[in-house]
Symmetry: C2
Subunit: 317 residues, 2 copies
Protein backbone atom coordinates (compact mmCIF):
# COMPACT_ATOMS: atom_id res chain seq x y z
CA UNK A 1 0.00 0.00 0.00
CA UNK A 2 0.92 3.61 -0.41
CA UNK A 3 3.28 5.16 2.07
CA UNK A 4 3.63 8.67 3.35
CA UNK A 5 0.54 9.59 5.28
CA UNK A 6 -2.08 10.03 2.58
CA UNK A 7 -3.37 6.48 2.53
CA UNK A 8 -3.86 4.75 5.82
CA UNK A 9 -1.83 1.65 6.48
CA UNK A 10 -4.69 -0.80 6.40
CA UNK A 11 -4.89 -4.07 4.62
CA UNK A 12 -7.33 -4.51 1.81
CA UNK A 13 -11.03 -4.34 2.54
CA UNK A 14 -12.45 -7.76 3.28
CA UNK A 15 -14.51 -9.53 0.65
CA UNK A 16 -18.07 -8.36 0.89
CA UNK A 17 -19.43 -9.26 -2.56
CA UNK A 18 -19.60 -5.60 -3.29
CA UNK A 19 -21.46 -5.67 -6.59
CA UNK A 20 -24.14 -7.85 -5.00
CA UNK A 21 -24.47 -5.72 -1.96
CA UNK A 22 -24.36 -2.30 -3.51
CA UNK A 23 -27.63 -2.93 -5.33
CA UNK A 24 -29.31 -3.61 -1.99
CA UNK A 25 -28.76 -0.02 -0.90
CA UNK A 26 -31.90 1.42 0.62
CA UNK A 27 -32.89 4.52 2.53
CA UNK A 28 -32.61 3.65 6.19
CA UNK A 29 -35.89 3.85 8.09
CA UNK A 30 -35.43 1.39 10.93
CA UNK A 31 -32.28 1.33 13.02
CA UNK A 32 -31.43 -1.35 15.57
CA UNK A 33 -29.20 -0.30 18.44
CA UNK A 34 -27.17 -2.76 20.47
CA UNK A 35 -27.03 -1.80 23.26
CA UNK A 36 -28.81 1.28 24.57
CA UNK A 37 -26.35 2.34 27.30
CA UNK A 38 -25.55 6.03 27.78
CA UNK A 39 -24.19 6.60 24.29
CA UNK A 40 -26.47 4.13 22.50
CA UNK A 41 -29.65 5.52 24.04
CA UNK A 42 -28.50 9.10 23.45
CA UNK A 43 -27.84 8.49 19.77
CA UNK A 44 -31.04 6.47 19.38
CA UNK A 45 -33.10 9.22 20.98
CA UNK A 46 -31.62 11.75 18.57
CA UNK A 47 -32.62 9.49 15.66
CA UNK A 48 -36.14 8.97 17.06
CA UNK A 49 -36.51 12.75 17.23
CA UNK A 50 -35.79 12.91 13.51
CA UNK A 51 -38.53 10.37 12.75
CA UNK A 52 -36.61 7.12 12.44
CA UNK A 53 -37.88 3.95 14.02
CA UNK A 54 -35.29 2.84 16.53
CA UNK A 55 -35.52 -0.71 17.81
CA UNK A 56 -33.67 -2.79 20.32
CA UNK A 57 -33.95 -6.15 21.98
CA UNK A 58 -34.01 -5.89 25.72
CA UNK A 59 -34.09 -9.66 26.23
CA UNK A 60 -31.59 -10.42 28.99
CA UNK A 61 -30.62 -6.76 29.51
CA UNK A 62 -30.45 -4.95 32.84
CA UNK A 63 -33.48 -3.00 34.12
CA UNK A 64 -31.44 0.22 33.72
CA UNK A 65 -30.77 -0.50 30.04
CA UNK A 66 -34.46 -1.32 29.49
CA UNK A 67 -35.47 1.93 31.15
CA UNK A 68 -32.99 3.97 29.10
CA UNK A 69 -34.32 2.39 25.90
CA UNK A 70 -37.93 3.06 26.82
CA UNK A 71 -37.25 6.67 27.78
CA UNK A 72 -35.40 7.20 24.52
CA UNK A 73 -38.46 6.04 22.56
CA UNK A 74 -37.06 2.73 21.28
CA UNK A 75 -39.38 -0.08 20.20
CA UNK A 76 -38.57 -3.35 21.87
CA UNK A 77 -38.43 -6.62 19.91
CA UNK A 78 -38.88 -10.02 21.54
CA UNK A 79 -35.60 -11.52 20.30
CA UNK A 80 -32.51 -10.91 18.20
CA UNK A 81 -33.88 -12.60 15.07
CA UNK A 82 -36.93 -10.30 15.04
CA UNK A 83 -34.68 -7.30 15.64
CA UNK A 84 -32.57 -8.21 12.62
CA UNK A 85 -35.59 -8.90 10.40
CA UNK A 86 -37.01 -5.44 11.11
CA UNK A 87 -33.75 -3.46 10.91
CA UNK A 88 -32.34 -1.74 7.82
CA UNK A 89 -29.23 -0.95 9.75
CA UNK A 90 -27.69 -1.97 13.07
CA UNK A 91 -25.47 0.14 15.30
CA UNK A 92 -23.24 -1.87 17.61
CA UNK A 93 -22.41 0.41 20.57
CA UNK A 94 -20.97 -1.82 23.27
CA UNK A 95 -17.86 -2.01 25.49
CA UNK A 96 -14.85 -2.57 23.21
CA UNK A 97 -14.17 -6.02 24.64
CA UNK A 98 -17.68 -7.13 23.59
CA UNK A 99 -17.56 -5.82 20.01
CA UNK A 100 -16.26 -9.08 18.52
CA UNK A 101 -18.62 -11.46 20.37
CA UNK A 102 -21.65 -9.27 19.60
CA UNK A 103 -20.70 -9.38 15.91
CA UNK A 104 -20.20 -13.15 16.00
CA UNK A 105 -23.59 -13.61 17.60
CA UNK A 106 -25.34 -11.43 15.03
CA UNK A 107 -23.43 -12.96 12.12
CA UNK A 108 -25.00 -16.31 13.03
CA UNK A 109 -28.47 -14.88 12.34
CA UNK A 110 -27.78 -12.71 9.30
CA UNK A 111 -28.35 -15.26 6.53
CA UNK A 112 -31.72 -16.38 7.87
CA UNK A 113 -32.91 -13.05 9.25
CA UNK A 114 -31.58 -10.26 7.02
CA UNK A 115 -28.69 -10.59 4.56
CA UNK A 116 -29.37 -6.99 3.48
CA UNK A 117 -28.43 -5.68 6.90
CA UNK A 118 -26.00 -2.77 7.14
CA UNK A 119 -23.82 -3.43 10.20
CA UNK A 120 -22.29 -0.27 11.70
CA UNK A 121 -19.65 -1.00 14.32
CA UNK A 122 -19.39 2.17 16.46
CA UNK A 123 -17.03 0.76 19.07
CA UNK A 124 -13.73 2.06 20.38
CA UNK A 125 -11.65 -0.68 18.80
CA UNK A 126 -8.34 -0.99 16.96
CA UNK A 127 -8.27 -0.98 13.15
CA UNK A 128 -7.16 -4.62 13.39
CA UNK A 129 -10.29 -5.46 15.41
CA UNK A 130 -12.68 -3.63 13.10
CA UNK A 131 -11.13 -5.45 10.13
CA UNK A 132 -11.66 -8.77 11.91
CA UNK A 133 -15.31 -7.91 12.57
CA UNK A 134 -15.74 -6.73 9.00
CA UNK A 135 -14.56 -10.18 7.86
CA UNK A 136 -17.11 -11.87 10.11
CA UNK A 137 -20.03 -9.67 9.02
CA UNK A 138 -18.94 -9.72 5.37
CA UNK A 139 -18.52 -13.48 5.56
CA UNK A 140 -22.12 -13.75 6.76
CA UNK A 141 -23.20 -11.79 3.68
CA UNK A 142 -24.02 -8.38 5.14
CA UNK A 143 -22.38 -5.02 4.59
CA UNK A 144 -20.10 -3.39 7.15
CA UNK A 145 -19.40 0.22 8.10
CA UNK A 146 -16.50 1.20 10.34
CA UNK A 147 -17.54 3.92 12.76
CA UNK A 148 -15.95 5.92 15.55
CA UNK A 149 -17.96 8.11 17.91
CA UNK A 150 -16.13 11.14 19.29
CA UNK A 151 -17.60 13.30 22.03
CA UNK A 152 -20.45 12.68 24.46
CA UNK A 153 -24.09 11.68 23.88
CA UNK A 154 -25.91 14.31 21.73
CA UNK A 155 -27.67 16.15 24.54
CA UNK A 156 -26.98 19.43 22.86
CA UNK A 157 -25.46 20.78 19.66
CA UNK A 158 -21.75 20.19 18.98
CA UNK A 159 -21.16 17.31 21.38
CA UNK A 160 -21.27 14.29 19.08
CA UNK A 161 -19.43 13.43 15.90
CA UNK A 162 -19.99 10.07 14.23
CA UNK A 163 -17.11 9.28 11.87
CA UNK A 164 -17.70 6.67 9.20
CA UNK A 165 -15.43 4.85 6.79
CA UNK A 166 -15.60 1.95 4.37
CA UNK A 167 -17.11 1.28 0.95
CA UNK A 168 -20.72 1.26 2.24
CA UNK A 169 -21.08 4.45 4.24
CA UNK A 170 -23.39 6.39 1.92
CA UNK A 171 -26.73 5.42 3.48
CA UNK A 172 -25.49 6.08 7.00
CA UNK A 173 -24.14 9.46 5.92
CA UNK A 174 -27.69 10.37 4.84
CA UNK A 175 -29.05 9.85 8.34
CA UNK A 176 -30.08 12.84 10.40
CA UNK A 177 -29.87 12.77 14.17
CA UNK A 178 -30.55 15.81 16.32
CA UNK A 179 -27.20 17.32 17.33
CA UNK A 180 -25.26 14.53 15.62
CA UNK A 181 -22.66 15.36 13.03
CA UNK A 182 -22.09 12.41 10.66
CA UNK A 183 -18.69 12.67 8.96
CA UNK A 184 -17.14 10.74 6.12
CA UNK A 185 -13.56 9.46 6.42
CA UNK A 186 -13.31 7.71 3.07
CA UNK A 187 -13.71 4.22 1.73
CA UNK A 188 -11.29 2.22 3.86
CA UNK A 189 -12.50 0.12 6.75
CA UNK A 190 -10.20 0.99 9.66
CA UNK A 191 -9.91 4.75 9.20
CA UNK A 192 -12.82 5.65 11.50
CA UNK A 193 -11.53 3.32 14.19
CA UNK A 194 -8.00 4.70 13.79
CA UNK A 195 -9.25 8.24 14.37
CA UNK A 196 -11.19 7.16 17.45
CA UNK A 197 -8.11 5.37 18.85
CA UNK A 198 -5.82 8.36 18.28
CA UNK A 199 -8.30 10.80 19.75
CA UNK A 200 -8.93 8.66 22.83
CA UNK A 201 -5.21 8.02 23.27
CA UNK A 202 -4.75 11.72 23.91
CA UNK A 203 -7.80 12.27 26.15
CA UNK A 204 -7.94 9.10 28.23
CA UNK A 205 -4.18 8.66 27.95
CA UNK A 206 -3.67 12.08 29.56
CA UNK A 207 -6.00 11.14 32.41
CA UNK A 208 -4.07 7.90 33.00
CA UNK A 209 -0.79 9.82 32.92
CA UNK A 210 -2.10 12.35 35.44
CA UNK A 211 -3.11 9.50 37.73
CA UNK A 212 0.37 7.99 37.46
CA UNK A 213 1.99 11.30 38.49
CA UNK A 214 -0.56 12.14 41.17
CA UNK A 215 -0.71 8.73 42.84
CA UNK A 216 3.09 8.60 42.93
CA UNK A 217 3.27 12.08 44.44
CA UNK A 218 0.61 11.19 47.00
CA UNK A 219 2.37 7.96 47.97
CA UNK A 220 5.78 9.62 48.25
CA UNK A 221 4.49 12.63 50.20
CA UNK A 222 5.28 15.27 47.56
CA UNK A 223 1.83 16.22 46.32
CA UNK A 224 1.91 19.64 48.03
CA UNK A 225 5.26 20.81 46.60
CA UNK A 226 4.25 19.35 43.23
CA UNK A 227 1.06 21.42 43.22
CA UNK A 228 3.10 24.51 44.17
CA UNK A 229 5.45 23.84 41.25
CA UNK A 230 2.49 23.61 38.87
CA UNK A 231 1.08 26.87 40.21
CA UNK A 232 3.99 28.65 38.59
CA UNK A 233 4.92 26.43 35.63
CA UNK A 234 1.46 25.21 34.55
CA UNK A 235 -1.17 27.28 36.37
CA UNK A 236 -4.29 25.65 34.88
CA UNK A 237 -3.13 22.05 35.36
CA UNK A 238 -4.35 21.37 38.89
CA UNK A 239 -7.76 22.87 38.14
CA UNK A 240 -8.14 20.59 35.13
CA UNK A 241 -7.12 17.62 37.25
CA UNK A 242 -9.63 18.62 39.94
CA UNK A 243 -12.41 18.62 37.34
CA UNK A 244 -11.34 15.46 35.59
CA UNK A 245 -10.09 12.96 38.18
CA UNK A 246 -13.37 12.69 40.16
CA UNK A 247 -15.12 11.47 36.99
CA UNK A 248 -12.70 8.56 36.59
CA UNK A 249 -13.78 6.07 39.31
CA UNK A 250 -17.13 5.41 37.60
CA UNK A 251 -15.70 5.22 34.11
CA UNK A 252 -12.38 3.45 34.68
CA UNK A 253 -13.89 -0.01 34.26
CA UNK A 254 -15.24 0.91 30.83
CA UNK A 255 -11.89 2.32 29.72
CA UNK A 256 -9.74 -0.75 30.37
CA UNK A 257 -10.72 -2.47 27.12
CA UNK A 258 -10.35 0.77 25.17
CA UNK A 259 -6.78 1.26 26.43
CA UNK A 260 -5.97 -2.30 25.34
CA UNK A 261 -7.38 -1.58 21.87
CA UNK A 262 -5.21 1.55 21.68
CA UNK A 263 -2.19 -0.55 22.72
CA UNK A 264 -3.04 -2.98 19.90
CA UNK A 265 -3.40 -0.10 17.41
CA UNK A 266 0.06 1.20 18.29
CA UNK A 267 1.61 -2.25 18.22
CA UNK A 268 0.16 -2.58 14.72
CA UNK A 269 2.28 0.29 13.39
CA UNK A 270 5.45 -0.87 15.15
CA UNK A 271 5.30 1.21 18.32
CA UNK A 272 5.57 -0.33 21.76
CA UNK A 273 2.26 -1.29 23.37
CA UNK A 274 3.69 -0.63 26.84
CA UNK A 275 2.38 2.91 27.24
CA UNK A 276 -1.28 1.94 26.80
CA UNK A 277 -1.01 -1.43 28.51
CA UNK A 278 0.18 0.76 31.39
CA UNK A 279 -2.89 3.00 31.01
CA UNK A 280 -5.12 -0.11 31.04
CA UNK A 281 -3.43 -1.31 34.23
CA UNK A 282 -4.00 2.09 35.85
CA UNK A 283 -7.73 1.96 35.04
CA UNK A 284 -7.90 -1.62 36.33
CA UNK A 285 -6.46 -0.33 39.59
CA UNK A 286 -8.93 2.57 39.82
CA UNK A 287 -11.80 0.25 39.01
CA UNK A 288 -10.66 -2.23 41.66
CA UNK A 289 -10.42 0.51 44.28
CA UNK A 290 -13.80 2.15 43.65
CA UNK A 291 -15.95 -0.55 42.13
CA UNK A 292 -15.62 -2.60 45.29
CA UNK A 293 -16.60 0.38 47.41
CA UNK A 294 -19.85 0.98 45.55
CA UNK A 295 -19.28 4.71 45.04
CA UNK A 296 -22.16 6.44 43.31
CA UNK A 297 -20.87 10.02 43.27
CA UNK A 298 -17.58 11.36 41.93
CA UNK A 299 -15.31 11.73 44.98
CA UNK A 300 -13.04 14.81 45.15
CA UNK A 301 -9.54 14.42 43.71
CA UNK A 302 -7.77 14.16 47.08
CA UNK A 303 -10.12 11.38 48.15
CA UNK A 304 -9.53 9.52 44.88
CA UNK A 305 -5.75 9.73 45.37
CA UNK A 306 -5.88 8.81 49.03
CA UNK A 307 -8.09 5.76 48.37
CA UNK A 308 -5.76 4.54 45.62
CA UNK A 309 -2.72 5.12 47.84
CA UNK A 310 -4.25 3.09 50.67
CA UNK A 311 -5.15 0.30 48.28
CA UNK A 312 -1.56 0.19 46.96
CA UNK A 313 -0.22 0.25 50.48
CA UNK A 314 -2.42 -2.69 51.47
CA UNK A 315 -1.69 -4.74 48.36
CA UNK A 316 1.98 -3.95 47.70
CA UNK A 317 4.79 -6.11 49.07
CA UNK B 1 6.69 4.11 58.48
CA UNK B 2 3.82 6.54 58.69
CA UNK B 3 1.03 6.17 56.23
CA UNK B 4 -1.36 8.66 54.73
CA UNK B 5 0.61 11.10 52.66
CA UNK B 6 2.37 13.27 55.23
CA UNK B 7 5.53 11.23 55.55
CA UNK B 8 7.04 9.95 52.36
CA UNK B 9 7.31 6.20 51.96
CA UNK B 10 11.08 5.97 52.13
CA UNK B 11 13.18 3.63 54.13
CA UNK B 12 15.34 4.93 56.91
CA UNK B 13 18.18 7.25 56.06
CA UNK B 14 21.39 5.31 55.45
CA UNK B 15 24.05 5.26 58.14
CA UNK B 16 26.22 8.31 57.79
CA UNK B 17 27.73 8.58 61.29
CA UNK B 18 25.62 11.67 61.80
CA UNK B 19 27.12 12.93 65.06
CA UNK B 20 30.59 12.72 63.53
CA UNK B 21 29.62 14.46 60.38
CA UNK B 22 27.44 17.22 61.73
CA UNK B 23 30.42 18.82 63.50
CA UNK B 24 32.21 19.08 60.16
CA UNK B 25 29.62 21.55 58.89
CA UNK B 26 31.28 24.51 57.23
CA UNK B 27 30.22 27.46 55.16
CA UNK B 28 30.60 26.42 51.55
CA UNK B 29 33.13 28.44 49.61
CA UNK B 30 34.29 26.05 46.90
CA UNK B 31 31.86 23.97 44.87
CA UNK B 32 32.86 21.19 42.49
CA UNK B 33 30.53 20.51 39.60
CA UNK B 34 30.43 17.20 37.75
CA UNK B 35 29.82 17.71 34.95
CA UNK B 36 29.41 21.16 33.41
CA UNK B 37 26.88 20.36 30.66
CA UNK B 38 24.01 22.78 29.96
CA UNK B 39 22.50 22.60 33.44
CA UNK B 40 25.77 22.12 35.34
CA UNK B 41 27.50 25.07 33.67
CA UNK B 42 24.40 27.24 34.05
CA UNK B 43 24.16 26.57 37.78
CA UNK B 44 27.93 26.91 38.25
CA UNK B 45 27.93 30.25 36.45
CA UNK B 46 25.17 31.52 38.73
CA UNK B 47 27.27 30.49 41.75
CA UNK B 48 30.42 32.14 40.32
CA UNK B 49 28.43 35.35 39.93
CA UNK B 50 27.69 35.26 43.65
CA UNK B 51 31.39 34.94 44.50
CA UNK B 52 31.82 31.21 45.03
CA UNK B 53 34.80 29.38 43.61
CA UNK B 54 33.43 26.79 41.22
CA UNK B 55 35.79 24.04 40.16
CA UNK B 56 35.63 21.10 37.79
CA UNK B 57 37.92 18.52 36.33
CA UNK B 58 37.89 18.54 32.58
CA UNK B 59 40.24 15.55 32.31
CA UNK B 60 38.78 13.31 29.61
CA UNK B 61 35.81 15.58 28.92
CA UNK B 62 34.64 16.72 25.50
CA UNK B 63 35.91 20.02 24.04
CA UNK B 64 32.33 21.37 24.29
CA UNK B 65 32.16 20.60 28.02
CA UNK B 66 35.58 22.22 28.55
CA UNK B 67 34.45 25.31 26.67
CA UNK B 68 31.21 25.54 28.65
CA UNK B 69 33.16 25.29 31.93
CA UNK B 70 35.64 27.96 30.89
CA UNK B 71 32.94 30.37 29.74
CA UNK B 72 31.07 29.85 33.00
CA UNK B 73 34.17 30.90 34.96
CA UNK B 74 35.02 27.50 36.44
CA UNK B 75 38.54 26.72 37.66
CA UNK B 76 39.93 23.54 36.19
CA UNK B 77 41.72 20.96 38.34
CA UNK B 78 44.17 18.43 36.90
CA UNK B 79 42.45 15.34 38.30
CA UNK B 80 39.56 14.08 40.39
CA UNK B 81 41.62 13.75 43.61
CA UNK B 82 42.64 17.41 43.44
CA UNK B 83 39.05 18.40 42.70
CA UNK B 84 37.85 16.59 45.82
CA UNK B 85 40.63 17.99 48.03
CA UNK B 86 39.70 21.56 47.10
CA UNK B 87 35.91 21.18 47.25
CA UNK B 88 33.65 21.85 50.25
CA UNK B 89 30.75 20.51 48.33
CA UNK B 90 30.21 18.57 45.09
CA UNK B 91 27.21 18.78 42.78
CA UNK B 92 26.69 15.69 40.62
CA UNK B 93 24.72 16.83 37.55
CA UNK B 94 25.00 14.04 35.01
CA UNK B 95 22.68 11.88 32.87
CA UNK B 96 20.57 9.73 35.25
CA UNK B 97 22.12 6.49 34.02
CA UNK B 98 25.57 7.81 35.07
CA UNK B 99 24.61 8.96 38.56
CA UNK B 100 25.51 5.69 40.27
CA UNK B 101 28.86 5.12 38.53
CA UNK B 102 29.94 8.73 39.11
CA UNK B 103 29.18 8.28 42.81
CA UNK B 104 31.07 4.97 42.96
CA UNK B 105 34.09 6.57 41.34
CA UNK B 106 34.10 9.51 43.73
CA UNK B 107 33.45 7.29 46.76
CA UNK B 108 36.73 5.53 46.01
CA UNK B 109 38.61 8.83 46.56
CA UNK B 110 36.69 10.29 49.49
CA UNK B 111 38.63 8.76 52.39
CA UNK B 112 42.02 9.84 51.07
CA UNK B 113 41.00 13.14 49.48
CA UNK B 114 38.19 14.67 51.54
CA UNK B 115 36.03 12.82 54.08
CA UNK B 116 34.39 16.16 54.94
CA UNK B 117 32.90 16.44 51.44
CA UNK B 118 29.21 17.27 51.09
CA UNK B 119 27.94 15.25 48.12
CA UNK B 120 24.85 16.74 46.45
CA UNK B 121 23.23 14.42 43.92
CA UNK B 122 21.15 16.64 41.62
CA UNK B 123 20.20 13.95 39.14
CA UNK B 124 16.81 12.90 37.80
CA UNK B 125 16.78 9.57 39.58
CA UNK B 126 14.29 7.44 41.50
CA UNK B 127 14.14 7.63 45.31
CA UNK B 128 15.47 4.05 45.31
CA UNK B 129 18.51 5.15 43.27
CA UNK B 130 19.26 8.18 45.41
CA UNK B 131 19.06 5.96 48.54
CA UNK B 132 21.51 3.53 46.93
CA UNK B 133 23.91 6.39 46.15
CA UNK B 134 23.48 7.79 49.66
CA UNK B 135 24.59 4.40 51.02
CA UNK B 136 27.70 4.47 48.82
CA UNK B 137 28.67 8.04 49.73
CA UNK B 138 27.77 7.57 53.39
CA UNK B 139 29.72 4.31 53.43
CA UNK B 140 32.78 6.21 52.20
CA UNK B 141 32.38 8.61 55.13
CA UNK B 142 31.00 11.72 53.45
CA UNK B 143 27.63 13.43 53.83
CA UNK B 144 24.90 13.20 51.21
CA UNK B 145 22.18 15.58 50.06
CA UNK B 146 19.32 14.49 47.83
CA UNK B 147 18.56 17.14 45.23
CA UNK B 148 16.14 17.60 42.34
CA UNK B 149 16.46 20.41 39.83
CA UNK B 150 13.21 21.64 38.30
CA UNK B 151 13.15 24.08 35.42
CA UNK B 152 15.84 25.18 32.98
CA UNK B 153 19.34 26.62 33.55
CA UNK B 154 19.15 29.94 35.50
CA UNK B 155 19.50 32.29 32.55
CA UNK B 156 16.93 34.59 34.07
CA UNK B 157 14.84 34.92 37.18
CA UNK B 158 12.24 32.26 37.97
CA UNK B 159 13.57 29.48 35.74
CA UNK B 160 15.42 27.27 38.24
CA UNK B 161 14.37 25.64 41.48
CA UNK B 162 16.82 23.42 43.35
CA UNK B 163 14.95 21.20 45.81
CA UNK B 164 16.94 19.63 48.63
CA UNK B 165 16.19 16.95 51.18
CA UNK B 166 18.03 14.88 53.76
CA UNK B 167 19.58 15.46 57.18
CA UNK B 168 22.47 17.56 55.84
CA UNK B 169 20.89 20.20 53.63
CA UNK B 170 21.51 23.27 55.81
CA UNK B 171 24.78 24.42 54.23
CA UNK B 172 23.47 24.00 50.72
CA UNK B 173 20.32 25.93 51.62
CA UNK B 174 22.57 28.85 52.58
CA UNK B 175 24.06 29.05 49.08
CA UNK B 176 23.11 31.92 46.84
CA UNK B 177 23.06 31.53 43.09
CA UNK B 178 21.83 34.23 40.76
CA UNK B 179 18.26 33.36 39.71
CA UNK B 180 18.37 30.07 41.60
CA UNK B 181 15.72 29.32 44.18
CA UNK B 182 17.01 26.75 46.74
CA UNK B 183 14.09 25.01 48.48
CA UNK B 184 13.98 22.70 51.47
CA UNK B 185 11.91 19.50 51.31
CA UNK B 186 12.70 18.17 54.76
CA UNK B 187 15.10 15.71 56.30
CA UNK B 188 14.40 12.54 54.33
CA UNK B 189 16.70 11.42 51.55
CA UNK B 190 14.41 10.57 48.62
CA UNK B 191 11.90 13.40 48.87
CA UNK B 192 13.73 15.74 46.47
CA UNK B 193 14.16 12.94 43.95
CA UNK B 194 10.51 11.95 44.34
CA UNK B 195 9.38 15.48 43.52
CA UNK B 196 11.65 15.60 40.47
CA UNK B 197 10.30 12.24 39.24
CA UNK B 198 6.66 13.26 39.68
CA UNK B 199 7.20 16.61 38.01
CA UNK B 200 9.05 15.11 35.04
CA UNK B 201 6.48 12.32 34.71
CA UNK B 202 3.90 14.96 33.87
CA UNK B 203 6.03 17.10 31.54
CA UNK B 204 8.11 14.54 29.64
CA UNK B 205 5.36 11.94 30.03
CA UNK B 206 2.93 14.26 28.23
CA UNK B 207 5.40 14.74 25.39
CA UNK B 208 5.84 10.97 25.03
CA UNK B 209 2.06 10.51 25.08
CA UNK B 210 1.63 13.16 22.38
CA UNK B 211 4.21 11.38 20.24
CA UNK B 212 2.33 8.09 20.67
CA UNK B 213 -0.92 9.68 19.48
CA UNK B 214 0.65 11.74 16.70
CA UNK B 215 2.86 9.02 15.23
CA UNK B 216 -0.09 6.61 15.24
CA UNK B 217 -2.30 9.18 13.52
CA UNK B 218 0.40 9.93 10.97
CA UNK B 219 0.96 6.25 10.23
CA UNK B 220 -2.75 5.49 9.91
CA UNK B 221 -3.48 8.55 7.78
CA UNK B 222 -5.78 10.31 10.25
CA UNK B 223 -3.63 13.22 11.38
CA UNK B 224 -5.72 15.79 9.47
CA UNK B 225 -9.13 14.78 10.89
CA UNK B 226 -7.51 14.44 14.33
CA UNK B 227 -6.23 18.01 14.13
CA UNK B 228 -9.68 19.18 13.05
CA UNK B 229 -11.22 17.40 16.05
CA UNK B 230 -8.76 19.14 18.37
CA UNK B 231 -9.58 22.51 16.82
CA UNK B 232 -13.02 22.27 18.40
CA UNK B 233 -12.46 20.12 21.50
CA UNK B 234 -8.99 21.30 22.58
CA UNK B 235 -8.11 24.42 20.58
CA UNK B 236 -4.67 25.09 22.08
CA UNK B 237 -3.41 21.52 21.86
CA UNK B 238 -1.96 21.49 18.35
CA UNK B 239 -0.15 24.79 18.95
CA UNK B 240 1.47 23.39 22.08
CA UNK B 241 2.49 20.30 20.16
CA UNK B 242 3.94 22.42 17.36
CA UNK B 243 6.12 24.26 19.90
CA UNK B 244 7.13 21.20 21.87
CA UNK B 245 7.68 18.31 19.44
CA UNK B 246 10.51 19.97 17.41
CA UNK B 247 12.59 20.22 20.61
CA UNK B 248 12.40 16.48 21.24
CA UNK B 249 14.81 14.99 18.66
CA UNK B 250 17.84 16.60 20.34
CA UNK B 251 16.76 15.78 23.86
CA UNK B 252 15.17 12.33 23.46
CA UNK B 253 18.47 10.52 24.06
CA UNK B 254 18.92 12.27 27.40
CA UNK B 255 15.37 11.44 28.48
CA UNK B 256 15.53 7.66 28.08
CA UNK B 257 17.28 7.08 31.40
CA UNK B 258 15.00 9.56 33.16
CA UNK B 259 11.88 7.71 31.95
CA UNK B 260 13.36 4.45 33.27
CA UNK B 261 13.99 6.09 36.65
CA UNK B 262 10.35 7.27 36.69
CA UNK B 263 9.23 3.73 35.85
CA UNK B 264 11.33 2.47 38.79
CA UNK B 265 9.82 5.12 41.09
CA UNK B 266 6.29 4.02 40.18
CA UNK B 267 7.14 0.34 40.51
CA UNK B 268 8.43 1.17 43.98
CA UNK B 269 4.98 2.24 45.19
CA UNK B 270 3.19 -0.69 43.57
CA UNK B 271 2.11 0.87 40.27
CA UNK B 272 2.89 -0.74 36.93
CA UNK B 273 6.14 0.41 35.33
CA UNK B 274 4.66 -0.14 31.85
CA UNK B 275 3.59 3.43 31.20
CA UNK B 276 7.07 4.91 31.63
CA UNK B 277 8.92 1.96 30.15
CA UNK B 278 6.73 2.82 27.15
CA UNK B 279 7.82 6.47 27.33
CA UNK B 280 11.47 5.34 27.46
CA UNK B 281 10.90 3.19 24.37
CA UNK B 282 9.34 6.15 22.55
CA UNK B 283 12.37 8.34 23.28
CA UNK B 284 14.70 5.51 22.21
CA UNK B 285 12.84 5.48 18.91
CA UNK B 286 13.05 9.25 18.44
CA UNK B 287 16.74 9.19 19.34
CA UNK B 288 17.39 6.37 16.88
CA UNK B 289 15.59 8.24 14.08
CA UNK B 290 17.27 11.62 14.53
CA UNK B 291 20.61 10.82 16.15
CA UNK B 292 21.58 8.77 13.13
CA UNK B 293 20.61 11.60 10.80
CA UNK B 294 22.82 14.14 12.53
CA UNK B 295 20.13 16.79 12.82
CA UNK B 296 21.36 19.99 14.40
CA UNK B 297 18.18 22.09 14.27
CA UNK B 298 14.73 21.28 15.61
CA UNK B 299 12.74 20.06 12.60
CA UNK B 300 9.07 21.15 12.30
CA UNK B 301 6.48 18.82 13.84
CA UNK B 302 5.29 17.34 10.54
CA UNK B 303 8.86 16.47 9.58
CA UNK B 304 9.44 14.83 12.97
CA UNK B 305 6.32 12.70 12.53
CA UNK B 306 7.04 11.82 8.95
CA UNK B 307 10.63 10.77 9.72
CA UNK B 308 9.46 8.56 12.61
CA UNK B 309 6.74 7.06 10.42
CA UNK B 310 9.25 6.19 7.67
CA UNK B 311 11.60 4.66 10.21
CA UNK B 312 8.79 2.49 11.62
CA UNK B 313 7.74 1.52 8.13
CA UNK B 314 11.28 0.44 7.26
CA UNK B 315 11.87 -1.43 10.51
CA UNK B 316 8.45 -2.97 11.17
CA UNK B 317 7.57 -6.49 10.05
Amino acid sequence: MARGGQSPRFHSTPHTHKSNLRCRAVTIKTIAIISPGDMGSGIGKALVQEGYQVITCSEGRSPLTKELAQKAGFQDTPNLATLLIQADCLFSIVPPESALSVAQNIAGHIQSANPGLLYVDCNAIAPQTTLKIAEIIGGAGARYVDCGIIGSPPERRGLTRIYLSGPDTSEVLELHGQNIDFRNLGDQIGTASALKMCYASQTKGTTALWLHSLVTAQSLGVLDPLRKEWTSSNPTLWGRMEDNIPTVPHRAGRWIGEMKEIALTMEGIGLTNDAFEGAATMYELVDAVFHQKGYSEGPPILEVLSKIEHHLHDHHE
